[in-house]
């Protein structure tokens, strides 16, 4: 009986309260979407096992297109499919999706505002052992700069599932940044994802951490560390990086002496830049950034890499303490 309960739980496809890699939640979300929406089509570039589009390809072979190792062609083809009313999800690793095919995304998808969803996996340093060639640390910057592009970085499986559904409903190009490694559940069970709406856990009198993706769970840990030392820190999950939730940021800037941004991405052009751009114009307050500091990554287990590059709760807490001094 107990084991059957367990099974019931793992089959619960909204992933509420479950630690799961966001790419796995994506694969599951696609499968469900495929059933309810006949216009969903999926494209991949020879990585369907890794991006988790394989489930969809098995269930709906006529609506799945493996384009081979040709990312530029994949983006153009997805654009063409969208012109016939389909809702294409095109997937590969983030570094290839946004890097190799950037100009196709600019010219074909964004300039014509096509209804194509780019669900890219293996973003950030937690790709791990494959090393720098496969660790995308620039994709948020590359996508955020494009007019009309929506950029979403879900923090856990539950949020991913909802973000994929929301992206499918939304009209226009959307970039969804997903990861390879398992991440803890961080969103409350009653959470409802909305494009452009941040989730504020709390605002801190001393500091508020604005995080995205895997850094949200680290931020929540940092808040605990700091509270033990009498420092009041808040946490915001800024899962939509474009359009940015300015209201949430203004509230944080009003209350906190310091904003710390945290992302598994270069501090140049990513979440930290987006937050700093907004606050410098609208509510100047000190902004300090945690992220990759103008460097490539390297091979290693994800946990060790997070340590090596300072993408940890301990480093966030330390940085906040130092900045408040």
């Amino acid at each position: 009986m107990g084991s059957r309960d367990q099974e019931q739980k793992t089959q619960n496809t909204d992933f509420a309260g479950q630690a799961v890699a966001t790419r796995d939640a994506y694969g599951a979300a696609l499968l469900e979407l495929g059933k309810s929406n006949k216009n969903i089509v999926v494209l991949d570039a020879d990585l369907s096992g890794s991006t988790k589009t394989k489930g969809f390809s098995k269930a709906f072979p006529e609506r799945f297109f493996n384009m081979g190792i040709s990312e530029q062609d994949m983006i153009g083809t997805a654009g063409g499919l969208s012109l016939t009313g389909k809702v294409p999800f095109a997937s590969t690793f983030a570094v290839f999706e946004t890097g190799r095919a950037w100009e196709q995304i600019r010219q074909t998808l964004c300039y014509s505002h096509l209804n194509v969803k780019l669900a890219a996996t293996h973003s950030g340093i937690t790709v791990g052992e494959d090393g720098a060639s496969h660790q995308s640390l620039e994709d948020i910057a590359l996508m955020r700069v494009l007019p009309g592009m929506t950029v979403i970085v879900p923090a856990d499986g539950f949020e991913t599932k909802q973000a994929i559904d929301a992206a499918a409903e939304f009209e226009g190009p959307v970039y969804i940044r997903l990861g390879r490694s398992k991440v803890p559940a961080v969103m409350p069970k009653d959470y409802k994802f909305q494009i452009g709406k941040a989730y504020t856990y709390s605002l801190g009198k001393d500091a508020t951490i604005v995080a995205a993706g895997i850094m949200v769970s680290a931020a929540l840990e940092a808040k605990e560390i700091l509270s033990k030392e009498g420092i009041d820190a808040g946490v915001i999950n800024m899962s939509t990086i474009k359009p940015l939730d300015g209201g949430a940021l203004l509230a944080a800037a009003d209350k906190s002496k310091l904003i710390l941004t945290a992302e598994e991405h270069s501090i140049i052009g990513g979440l930290g830049s987006a937050v700093a751009e907004f606050l410098s114009e609208n509510h100047p307050v000190k902004v300090v950034k945690i992220g990759m500091r103008d460097t490539f990554g390297c091979s290693g287990p994800p946990k060790e890499l997070l340590q090596l590059y300072g993408l940890t709760a301990a480093n966030m807490a330390e940085t906040i303490k130092e900045s408040l001094r």
């Binding site: 040709s70 153009g76 499919l81 016939t84």
Partner: protein, 276 residues
């Protein structure tokens, strides 16, 4: 309304192409900037598409039953605009506003700004992938519409063209027919000097395409090739059209320098005389 324009009458089609060339030159003279040579080399092909082969409804550009045309060599925008004007998508007077601020006739076609433009192009090498995607989507919908795509010969130096060549054949897109406008020239000179694309027929055949070679200014040959393309099953069709850049205006013909140069007032007068 079914388009009333379409005809297989060769002299009618030639007359349309002649009119188109005159309008192209007029609009380019007026704008003072834009691409002359590559618009004139593909005029006969596009005339045959819009005045003979393609099902389309100028009064209902989004009609689901239409055949689609993707101008992959987007710099031939004056050719597309002229065709759309002369088939009735918009008033001919709009042609005078090419490349003006706020005008829907952008330097390169913008689908968000002008009805009848299926997709924005201008960055070379991307159109065939888009055409493939449309062909796949139409097939999923069991929509019998066909997709046409026009590429430049220099454009086929882009790697993405060959990715798309491979996938069109892999997915057996027999509802797709593409043209390469083989005018032999690109910006920096002759294709064979800049970056040789020959043997072009062997390449497309090797990629699995049903490949035809025609004289791209022989209206009868274009019309026949379009008819043949429609009968091909299980493969996309490539029509390699040998053309002359700047065709129809003696002093523009075969000159790489006239790729992106527009006629002066005097040149326009002379050109119209030659075309009349």
């Amino acid at each position: 309304m079914q388009s009333i324009l379409n005809s297989r009458d060769i002299s009618y089609l030639k007359e349309r192409a002649r009119e188109m060339r005159i309008e192209i030159l007029k609009m380019l003279e007026k704008s003072g900037s834009g691409h002359t040579g590559g618009s004139l080399s593909a005029t006969d092909i596009v005339a045959a598409l819009y005045f003979y082969k393609m099902k389309h409804r100028p009064d209902n550009p989004d009609w689901a039953g239409r055949d689609r045309f993707i101008l992959s060599k987007g710099h031939a925008a004056p050719l597309l605009y002229t065709t759309l004007a002369l088939t009735g998508y918009f008033d001919k007077s709009l042609l005078d506003s090419l490349r003006r601020v706020g005008c829907p006739l952008q330097g390169h076609p913008s689908s968000k700004m002008l009805n009848g433009v299926e997709i924005s192009t201008g960055s070379l090498g991307q159109g065939l992938s888009i055409a493939n995607g449309i062909a796949m989507g139409l097939r999923l919908d069991k929509n019998p519409s066909r997709v046409y795509c026009l590429l430049g010969d220099g454009e086929t130096q882009e790697g993405q063209v060959w990715e798309a060549a491979m996938s069109a054949s892999h997915y057996r897109l027999d509802n797709l027919c593409a043209f390469v406008d083989l005018n032999g020239l690109q910006i920096d000179g002759r294709c064979c000097d800049v970056m040789n694309i020959e043997p072009v027929g062997d390449k497309w055949r090797a990629f699995g395409w049903h490949t035809l070679s025609i004289d791209g200014h022989d209206m009868q040959a274009i019309v026949d090739a379009l008819d043949e393309a429609e009968k091909v099953k299980g493969k996309p069709c490539m029509i390699l059209a040998k053309t002359v850049k700047g065709k129809g205006v003696s002093f523009f013909e075969g000159k790489a320098e006239y790729h992106g140069v527009t006629p002066t007032k005097e040149e326009l007068e002379l050109a119209i005389k030659e075309l009349s």
